[in-house]
């Protein structure tokens, strides 16, 4: 098959770009541990309110000074609705759903997760700047989906 010289240059350039992009993503993943959320824990979606620690959603402080936040998403709210953490806190969010698929998204942070009934999803973020952060359900979950949001207050 006859491939024109210019086309060979163009394809070499294109494929080289793809390889460079992949190398950057790969470096970020393997060297800097920047990965999407991948929670592997399972939970009975019909018994979330009886299953610790989701029977008492909210914030826990760990020995090393970081925090864990346990959230239950259900139509059409988050529990807890408001979370207050100090500036600089590293918070690991554990989220599950008691009914349908929800989203767990905090704009202007790294927190972007799907919340699937039957599973616990996990992601961490360090809140370096004080202020009010919006927590949004960003997957359609029913008639009141637009009212499903919460707040993270980061206080200095």
């Amino acid at each position: 098959m006859n491939v024109h010289r210019y086309e060979r240059w163009w394809l070499t350039f294109g494929i080289a770009m793809l390889v460079i992009f992949l190398a950057i993503i790969g470096f970020a993943a393997f060297a800097d541990h920047i990965n999407p959320p991948t929670g592997m824990r399972q939970i009975d979606p019909t018994k979330v309110s009886q299953t610790p620690p989701f029977d008492k959603p909210g914030l826990r402080k760990l020995g090393d000074g970081s925090y864990e936040a346990y959230y239950v998403a259900k139509v059409f709210n988050f529990d807890p609705a408001i979370l207050t953490v100090p500036t600089g806190a590293k918070v690991t969010f554990y989220v599950t759903s008691a009914d349908v698929v929800h989203g767990f998204f905090i704009p202007n942070t790294d927190i972007n997760m799907m919340v699937i009934p039957g599973w616990v999803n996990v992601e961490s973020h360090t809140f370096t700047r004080p202020g009010e952060y919006l927590l949004i359900c960003h997957e359609y979950c029913g008639i009141g989906h637009q009212n499903m949001f919460g707040k993270i207050e980061v206080r200095s």
Binding site: N2, I15, L18, V100, Q146
Partner: protein, 541 residues
């Protein structure tokens, strides 16, 4: 026009005008959403944003595109392979698709399937919605059967000869489609018994994986439809040629192979799928960019060769020698410009961790409007202006409106889609009726962009009305005209014989299935090893 030709044309017209009805209704539902989301215009009490959004998504993404592509496939088949044929199979396919669409549409209109076009379980719609969607897919299989049967006929009659390029491209599109739709059929096999209440719960992650096994190649089904037109029809508008027969076939073979093993890049933010599989599907998704690189080169090379033939040299002379006042060319070419944006955005979305910034924000909506809503839809409408007169034997009604329509679409889409991309980067979510969040500062920042997006959407609405006026006007109103036999673009002189490997279709389909199994064996096996808990499902609307 002979009687048998007239009969063939009628089937194609049925498909194309069903697509036209879908895009007209979809546009009406679409323009409402744009205005509702601004929060400025008070929506009337009866207005149900999510029901309208479901209708818009299903009609545009699933019905308009599918009917147009099946119509295009039959057009290509009947115009390229001459024989006496019975049209029962083609009509049956159309009828099955129509019945399925009607079933799904009625359940949505009644409010029994407000589940959006992704119908993510455990949102539980009426079983008739799932059955309707399944019939739509099965109808496309019947059309595919008609196409393959004609390809087999051509091969029997012309032993050793490669099938015509345009038929090869169309055949490849449907080989890919068969491999891809196995996913949706598997998902429906879980959803339908559950929706009837015969099973007590649903494995949510399994349905998501089946859906996206189908969902991403669905995107490539649309794009391959546009590529069929770019390679084989557009060059006839500027008396040009296909740049290379072999490279065109290679592009379509690559699309058969690489379209399916990529779906998990839609599930980067999901639990239950290990990072290794997410990374694997990042790499394979990058691979499917390569046939698009080849296409970009081939299209521009074809432009340039045609210009050189007319004695024009250089970039400006080449661009200005193109038939920008031809609505068919204009639709495709403006669509290509939008696809540059779509390609860049697509690489971001597919990029594993980078997807965190944009996943489920309105950036994604902006992205698929400059892909399926840009290059694909605009190319289809442009091609309709070329096909409809040749099918009906009537001159196009108001060709200047047709040209205006493609330009209005381009500007409307640019405004709407860019606004959506920027708002998405600020964090505005997709699929949400109101995005004000009680005046939160974060939300205030993106509100002006919602207004701009609505304005762009309104231009698109006007553009579609114009298209419908021209399409219907041609059918009912305009004067008969005699057209020459349809001829598709031919390869430039000096092209060598078609390589043996690029004459096959079905064997590439079999290999594609093997690749898909390999790409999904890991993540699917992982899910099946963690069967966990079934979700009962509910109706939350």
């Amino acid at each position: 026009m002979s009687l048998s030709e007239r009969a063939e044309n009628r089937v194609v017209i049925a498909h194309l005008y069903t697509a036209t009805a879908a895009i007209a209704l979809g546009a009406i539902f679409g323009v409402f959403q744009g205005f509702a989301r601004t929060g400025v215009f008070g929506a009337p009490g009866w207005f149900d944003y999510y029901r309208v959004l479901t209708l818009h998504g299903v009609l545009m993404a699933l019905v308009f595109t599918t009917f147009f592509i099946t119509g295009l496939a039959l057009f290509v088949t009947y115009k390229s392979i001459e024989r006496t044929r019975s049209l029962g199979v083609a009509w049956f396919g159309w009828l099955l698709m129509l019945v399925g669409t009607a079933m799904a549409a009625v359940t949505i209109l009644k409010g029994d399937a407000t589940v959006l076009y992704t119908f993510y379980a455990p949102l539980k719609a009426s079983p008739w919605f799932y059955i309707g969607a399944t019939l739509l897919v099965l109808g496309t299989w019947v059309v595919a059967f008609e196409l393959f049967e004609n390809i087999n006929y051509f091969r029997r009659e012309n032993p050793g000869a490669p099938v015509p390029l345009v038929v090869f491209c169309t055949g490849a599109t449907f080989v890919m489609w068969i491999v891809a739709t196995l996913g949706i059929v598997a998902e429906m096999a879980l959803l339908i018994p559950w929706a009837f209440g015969w099973t007590s719960g649903i494995n949510v992650m399994l349905t998501r994986m089946f859906f996206w096994y189908f969902g991403h190649p669905l995107v490539y089904f649309w794009i391959m439809g546009a590529y069929i037109i770019w390679y084989n029809i557009i060059p006839t508008r500027y008396t040009g040629n296909v740049f290379s027969d072999a490279l065109t076939r290679l592009t379509f073979v690559m699309l058969i192979l690489l379209s399916t093993p990529v779906g998990i890049h839609h599930e980067f933010m999901d639990p239950g799928i290990s990072s290794v599989w997410k990374m694997l599907h990042t790499i394979t998704t990058y691979g499917v960019a390569i046939p698009s690189f080849i296409t970009a080169f081939a299209i521009f090379a074809s432009f340039e060769l045609a210009a050189i033939k007319r004695g024009k040299k250089g970039f400006i002379a080449t661009v200005s020698s193109l038939p920008w006042n031809d609505a068919t060319f204009s639709g495709a070419a403006l669509g290509m410009l939008l696809f540059i944006l779509g390609g860049f955005g697509g690489l971001v979305n597919a990029s594993y961790s980078m997807d965190t910034v944009v996943h489920n924000t309105i950036w994604i909506v902006g992205h698929f409007h400059v892909t399926v809503g840009g290059p694909v839809a605009l190319t289809f409408l442009g091609a309709a202006y070329w096909m409809i007169p040749r099918l009906t034997g009537r001159a196009l009604w108001k060709p200047e409106w047709a040209l205006f329509q493609t330009r209005l679409w381009f500007f409307g889409m640019l405004i709407m889609s860019l606004s959506m991309h920027f708002a998405g980067l600020m964090g505005a979510p997709r699929r949400t009726a109101e995005v004000g969040y009680l005046g939160a500062a974060t939300a205030n920042a993106w509100q002006p962009l919602m207004l701009l997006a609505a304005a762009g959407g309104f231009f698109l609405f006007l553009s579609i009305l114009t298209f419908v006026a021209v399409a219907v006007g041609t059918l009912v109103n305009n004067k008969p005209e005699v057209y020459e036999k349809v001829v598709f673009a031919t390869p430039a002189e000096g092209a060598g014989p078609t390589p043996w490997a690029l004459q096959h279709l079905y064997s590439w389909g079999a290999l594609a299935l093997i690749l898909a199994v390999l790409a999904y064996a890991g993540p699917l096996g992982e899910l099946l090893r963690h069967p966990g808990f079934l979700a009962p499902g509910m109706r939350t609307w």
